[in-house]
Amino acid sequence: MRFSQAWIVATKDFATFTKKRNIIYTVLIVPLVVSVALPGVVWYVQHRVNGADVGAAELTILLPAFVFFYLIIAGFIPTTIASYSLVGEKIEKSMEPLLATPTTDGEILFGKGLAAFVPPMGAILASSVLFMALMDTFTRGALGYYYFPNWDAAALLYLAVPLAVVMSVEWNVFVSSRVSDVRIAQQLGAIMILPLAGLYVGGEIGLVPLGDLNTTLYIAAALAIVDLLLLSVVRETFQRDQILTKWK
């Protein structure tokens, strides 16, 4: 496996993405909305006229739930990129000349994975910094301390989120091998946010203790197992014989 070859494949995709507005909007705007809108809600509630301030007890429930949004969007954003990266190549029939270069299937797959991994991760991590800074600014008074950073948020953003992005990328590679329409690929690819959204709902109704470091580590471990299982499926799917003869 030569990283340099994979990186060329990835940079090619980056160059293509910059020409696609829907990809730019999805990658940049969704994390930005989360990072600004959620602190904005907290600020609004605390400053509304005649309204009761959000107390410290409520904030310690709300803030970890809000951070969990990053795990959900980690399962969503790569869908747009990965589906375009693969189904787009199928539609433009550009996979055959790429496969004819001295690049292995694994290097192309890794490059495609990087292309779908790096932009969402960059956007999520950058926006999470903004999110935490705004939240700390707005909640310092009520809490009496800065809530962020903390170990749970770190585990979620630096462990669970990357694993969720990888899961989404792998799932989308598999889906992209089965369909030949970018929108259908995106719709099927987005299925991966369902279990993550389910965890969030579980947290809201008290079944899953969000904000607990152990919970986050368990979620990360589960994601790692799913990633490994999907990797074996994807490696089986992403073989030149299959790509040229069996991919729809």
Binding site: Q5, E92, E96, T101, D241
Partner: protein, 309 residues
């Protein structure tokens, strides 16, 4: 030295045999045409030779490397260029960027890439359009860009799959002329086509494929495979007397009269032209044209393909 060598190369998709025991050799610097109808296995053969598809059985070597071995396949893909039947360009990216990406994948330096991009885009008349997105190109321009992409790393062997299919006559001619230019550079070119005229114009040798390899030879050899050569005489005016005289002088030889045009089968047509013209003149005929004609490549192709079908 043989650059391409196959022996019993076979590809099956389930119960369907797409390529059946194909054996041939292509010498270095040769332009080798692969003729066959749709579904004959031409693209499948090229894909196996380019290490894009695995073979079911048989052998195939490019430049001495085995297409079936993983390490060899990387060496092969470094030494070949491929123009697939679908150009497969990155349409949002400029022509320059399309070529630059492939140059990087082939491990070229930045200076080498810049030099070859300018060279090939210049040769194909696209240099002025280098910053235009490939998606805005006409079909002919896209085909030329795909050819430039296949050549960006100066491959020893170039595989071209139907390079002039769906092109207008002018673009087809440009591509054909470019292939002839490449031939001067002694590159080995493997040309998949079902355009007989194109194959005849640019190929040193031609193979006719219809799942199995039906025949291989130079265009002349293939032309003579069916029917052989004949002497053709065109008279100023049709004349039964001339036909009768010829039949008398060349008894037992097939003589066909089609109005003022006479065809005389001959084992030595070049040597017999003067005798036949002399006989025509002695019988009172006035000759407008006399020459040797062979059977056509088309006749050979159709006979071989239909025989198999």
């Amino acid at each position: 030295m043989d650059m391409i060598e196959t022996a019993g190369l076979t590809k099956k998709f389930g119960d369907l045999t797409a390529v059946d025991g194909v054996s041939f050799k292509v010498a270095e610097g040769e332009v080798f045409g692969f003729l066959g109808p749709n579904g004959a296995g031409k693209t499948t053969t090229v894909r196996m030779l380019c290490c894009l598809l695995s073979k079911t059985s048989g052998e195939a070597h490019i430049g001495g490397y085995d297409v079936a071995k993983d390490h060899d396949s990387l060496e092969i893909r470094q030494m070949i260029g491929v123009v697939p039947d679908n150009v497969g360009l990155y349409e949002p990216l400029s022509a320059y960027k399309n070529l630059d990406i492939y140059g990087r994948l082939y491990g070229m330096t930045e200076a080498g890439r810049r030099q070859n991009i300018e060279r090939y885009l210049g040769m194909l008349g696209l240099w002025e359009k280098r910053d235009v997105a490939a998606g805005a190109f006409s079909k002919g321009m896209k085909q030329k860009l795909a050819i430039a992409r296949a050549l960006i790393h100066d491959p020893k062997v170039l595989f071209m799959d139907e390079p002039t299919a769906n092109l207008d006559p002018e673009s087809s001619k440009t591509v054909r002329d470019f292939i002839l230019d490449l031939k001067q550079e002694k590159r080995t070119i493997f040309l998949n086509t079902h355009n007989l005229d194109e194959a005849q114009r640019v190929c040193d040798r031609i193979a006719i494929l219809n799942t199995k390899l039906m025949a291989t030879g130079t265009p002349d050899e293939l032309e003579n495979m069916v029917g052989g050569k004949k002497v053709v005489v065109e008279l100023a005016q049709a004349s039964d007397a001339v036909v009768a005289a010829l039949k008398k002088k060349f008894a037992g030889v097939a003589i066909v009269s089609d109005g003022a045009k006479l065809s005389v089968a001959s084992a030595d047509p070049d040597g017999q032209v003067p005798d036949i013209v002399d006989a025509v003149v002695r019988a009172g005929g006035r000759v407008r044209f006399a020459g040797v004609e062979g059977s056509s490549l088309e006749a050979t192709y159709l006979q071989l393909v239909r025989k198999e079908g």
